[in-house]
Amino acid sequence: MVGSSRILPGEKIVNPVGNADLPLTEEKKLRRSIVGKALKALQTELEEQRVLC
C-alpha cells in the first residue's frame, strides 16, 4: 500500500480480516488476532514505512 506507514499482511485479498474456510468462532479469533496486531502497530514508533507482522 503506497504511502502507508504501518503495514500488516491480511489474510487474503478477498477477505483481509477473515477467512471463509474457518468455522465462525475460529474466524472471529483470527480477526481479533489481526486487529490486535494492527492496534499494536499503531502503538509502534517508527521513522519510515515498515511491514509489521
Partner: protein, 352 residues
Amino acid sequence: MGECEMMRVVHYLNQFFGGIGGEDKADLPPRVTEGAIGPGRAIQAALGKEGQVVATVICGDNYFAENIAGASDEVIKMIASYRPDVVIAGPAFNAGRYGIACGAICKAVQDQLKVPAVTGMYRENPGLDLYRQDVYIIETTDSARTMIEAVAKIVRLARKLVAKEKAGRPSEEGYFPRGILVNEISERTGAERVVDMLLSKLQGKPFESEVARPMYDRVKPAPAIRDLGRARIALVTDGGLVPKGNPDKIEIRTATRFGRYDIRSVEILNPADYEVSHEGYDSVFIRQDPNRLVPVDALRDFEREGLIGKLHETFYSTTGVACIVEVMRKLGEKIAEELKAAGVSGVILTST
C-alpha cells in the same frame, strides 16, 4: 526579437541570495531593486543581448512562509509594475522555505499576471511536490555551486516560453515531469516502440517510457499512540463496502467519491444491510460477512474490554481499483481532515 523588444525578466530571490543576510534577516518584507543581483548576474550573462533582468524582488524566507497568500500578493504587485515577459525565481536548490516561496510565486505569476515563470530546485526540496504540476521546475543539485548550470537550463526554458515555442519533454529541458500527457504523431507503431524499449532495457541501455509513472509522495509516519485505552480508533476501507443501495453512488472502479457510514449502534455488521461496490476483487465473502473487511465486531470487543477508548462512530469507505493517484490523494486528505477534526487518533485501513 529586436533590441528594442528585449525580453524583460524579473527575478525573485530570498534574503540570503539577495545578499542581505542569513537567518537573522529571514523576516525581511519584500523589496524591489532595479537590475540584477547575485544569481541574477548569471541570468543576465546567460541572456546576453536577448534580454535584461529589469528588476529583482527580494523577500525573507520566514516573512514569506508565515503568510504565503499575503506575501505573495505583495511580491506579485512589485513584479507586475516591471511588466515582465517572464519571471525567474531562485533557483532554490535544497532550501525548503525558499523552494516553497519560489513555487508559490511562479504559480501566482502564471495565474494572476498570465506571464510564464520558471524556477529550479533539488529533487528533495519540499516546494517540488507542492508546485511541480503547476510550474516548470528545473532540476538542480542540492548545492549552489552548480548555479551556472542551473541558470543555463532555466534561461533556455524561459526563452522558449517567452517565444511561445513548445517546451520539450522534461528529460530534454531538464525540468521535473508535471504529470501532463501530450499527444504526438509517431512514424512507428506502439508495438515497435515498446519492443525497442524492451530491447534497450534488456541490454541495460537507457530508454524513456512514454507513460509517466504516477508521482507518489513519501509520508512521514505519524507518532505512535501512547494511551490506546483512551484512543478513538476509526475504520477506513478501500474495499468498497457501502450500505444497501449505495447511497453515495461510489463507483465500482476509478472512484471519485467516498462515503461515511454510521455504526453508532452497530455491534456487528449485518450482511443484510451492506453491499460491495468494487469490481476489482471477488466480493462474495465480504457480502456474506462484511466484518471480514470492516472488523466492527472485533473492535467492539476491544472497546468493551477497555483495550481501546472508543470505536469512531462512522466508518469511511471508497473503492480502490483503477484509481487516479491525484483523485485518491484528495479523497485521502479529506478523510484524514474529518477524522482529525473528530479527535480520532488511530486508523485501521483495510484494503482488498
